[in-house]
Amino acid sequence: MKKVMVGNHAVSWGVKLARAEVISAYPITPQTQIVEELSEMVAGGDLPARFIKVESEHSAMAACIGASATGARTFTATSSQGLALMHELLHWAAGGRLPVVMADVNRALAPGWNIWTDQNDSLAQRDTGWIQLYCENNQEVLDTTILAFRLAEVVDLPVMLVLDAFYLSHTSEPVDVPDAALVDDFLPPREARHRLDTADPRSYGALVKPDAYMEMRLQQQQAMTAAGEAHERFVQDWSARTGRAWPALEAYRADDAELVLVTSGTITSTAREVVDSWRARGERVGLVKVKMFRPFPTAALRAMLRGKRRVAVLDRNISPGHGGIFAEEIRSALYDVPLDDRPALWGFILGLGGRDVTPETIDEIVVRTREAEGAPEREDIWVGVKV
């Protein structure tokens, strides 16, 4: 069934189809429509879940942790300051191996107050142990929401699906809403391997001394590795059922490309247009879209970029004092590629705080990367900045 819906409601529909059992959330722009729609679904009986309307994002994540530890399929959504407030408990959910699913609508952090998109909120949570999946369009948002629950529950790790503020959250697109039976078959009810149960009393999260803590973290790391493999399986499974695949990495016209743009989120769609325009002129320009940021698809990315001459990474984020975060990750991934096959990499900072990223912006990046002489600059290049 095709419906026209904003990205926020695509999340809500995904959560409904996934039959989430406990939802806990706090309002923040631009996420709020997600939980407004879920409130309607729960109040109207369309979604037989408990919705805990908490007094902060911190408590939203805390309530999700409690519910998930008791075996319930659990969801929340947030943005920006709300995600930052949750930070401590993101570690708790991941370290506790709880398959909570959260939608983060990418929004810039204050000050100054800014409700528009950039990726610093989610990328600041890089090391909390959450799987992170970035989406390009509303169909991908809905499909990823459903897949996120299956992935989370198979590897016992929380999943954050990420969508751009306004460009997706408040933009209407036609979305194919899969049948409930299809989703039920793809995503069976959660069967928690561990849960709070008075018939089998156990203690969770107790003091762990140095003689055991490292093993816990190693298991977490191993689960992250398993998550990459499981994600690939579930992408194929979903594709077989729906004809739609949203892989961890997608190469677009990149096979014979000499210059490859690397993007994430909605900038990808704009970049596809730019790639097409250069291709129309006979130029070998391609694109790699990064959907999965954690676990980072290092091996697949190496294989895709190996042998390319020039790579331009587009970062709608900044790690102050270092650079664009995707660019840093990709530089690191390419370090093991032998020098002869290793592309030169230019990092570009753009679109912060919702600054528009147009085809012209990306065109400029292609030109600068093509025409650059010598080794790339040590510092990432800011584009679209008023001088």
């Binding site: 059992e21 406990v22 806990s24 037989p48 879940a49 408990r50 805990i52 309307k53 908490v54 007094e55 902060s56 911190h58 408590s59 939203a60 805390a62 309530a63 999700c64 942790i65 409690g66 519910a67 998930s68 530890a69 008791t70 075996g71 319930a72 659990t74 401590e88 408990l89 708790w92 709070l196 149960d197 008075t198 089998d200 009393p201 156990r202 203690s203 969770y204 999260g205 107790a206 003091l207 762990v208 001394k209 055991a212």
Partner: protein
């Protein structure tokens, strides 16, 4: 001889097991034993950071015979809400979800989550065992520390200069169905309140005074006596509040000199007679306010 007598009195449903890590004379351990054994095994404990984080035992051990979820300092009310919601979805309305927090996790860092849970009238039992400072981190002041007390962050040259936060008035203002104070020195009163709380649905709050030998600086064997002195002198009245409206004293509080209670503790040793008189005045003034609440039911 005395060990045999204690063992004979341990109920068959003992849910606090030997080997826990409480200090000798710990009021918090006595409180847990009484509360948990009264609630029984169909209980899930949410344990934000507090002394009990340690007392319960490090992985892979647990001194408690019920499921325990250890969680972050400020999350008792919220994690308990989530567990309750999941149990409800699973059709389990019988199991009691008990948040077990210290005064720091209740009066200070956990107050927001507690207020949220109470405002939503979550079907949980929230117990604050109050030892009147951050004892687990080494005796730092909290907003439950009484005026005049020494702690490691309120040295004797500048002791606690603020009054203890009135947490019962705060909880009553949420109009929760049941809130009560209790003290480990009054086991019959405490157990009766746990039973009453157990029989009620909605947010129930128990504030248990739990004397602390290393934090209050007194000999291990004086815990029960000190608790009695706190109640009898009206420093810590025992009462219960239904729906935020009906206040009721549950034991006699003869009143009189607070000096005996204060002088018995090293944390007040630096106070002169004038300071002790000030504590007496404050206790008397608060008693007048409380009496009005009880009479008028507000």
């Amino acid at each position: 001889m005395s060990q045999i007598m204690i063992r004979d009195r341990i109920p068959a449903n003992e849910l606090l097991h030997p080997g826990h890590l409480a200090c000798p004379g710990c009021g918090g351990a006595i409180a847990m034993k009484m509360v948990l054994n009264t609630l029984g095994p169909k209980t899930i404990i949410v344990m934000p950071a507090c002394c009990w984080t340690v007392i319960a035992g490090p992985w892979p051990q647990s001194s408690l015979g019920v499921p325990v979820y250890h969680t972050a300092f400020e999350t008792g009310g919220a994690v308990a809400s989530g567990i309750r919601a999941a149990l409800d979805v699973q059709g389990d309305t019988e199991t009691t979800v008990m948040a077990w927090a210290g005064d720091g996790g209740t009066f200070d860092i956990g107050l927001q989550a507690l207020s949220g849970a109470a405002e939503r009238n979550e079907d949980i039992l929230y117990v604050c065992y109050d030892n009147e400072a951050y004892m687990n981190t080494g005796i730092q002041r909290s907003s439950a520390t009484p005026w005049g007390a020494w702690t490691t962050t309120t040295p004797t040259i500048q002791p606690q200069g603020t009054i203890k936060k009135d947490i019962m008035a705060i909880m009553a203002a949420h109009r929760v169905p049941y809130a009560a104070t209790a003290c480990v020195s009054y086991p019959a009163d405490l157990v009766e309140k746990v039973k009453r709380a157990h029989a009620i649905r909605g947010t129930r709050f128990l504030h248990i005074l739990s004397p602390c030998p290393p934090g209050w600086k007194y000999a291990d064997e004086q815990t029960v006596e000190l608790g009695r002195a706190a109640v009898r002198s009206r420093i810590f009245p025992l009462l219960e509040v239904e729906n935020g409206a009906r206040w009721r004293f549950t034991v006699d509080h003869p009143g009189g000199d607070v000096g005996a209670y204060v002088r018995a503790q090293g944390r007040f040793r630096h106070l002169d007679e004038g300071a002790i008189a000030h504590i007496q005045e404050d206790v008397d003034a608060r008693w007048e306010v409380l009496k009005k609440r009880v009479v008028h039911g507000t």
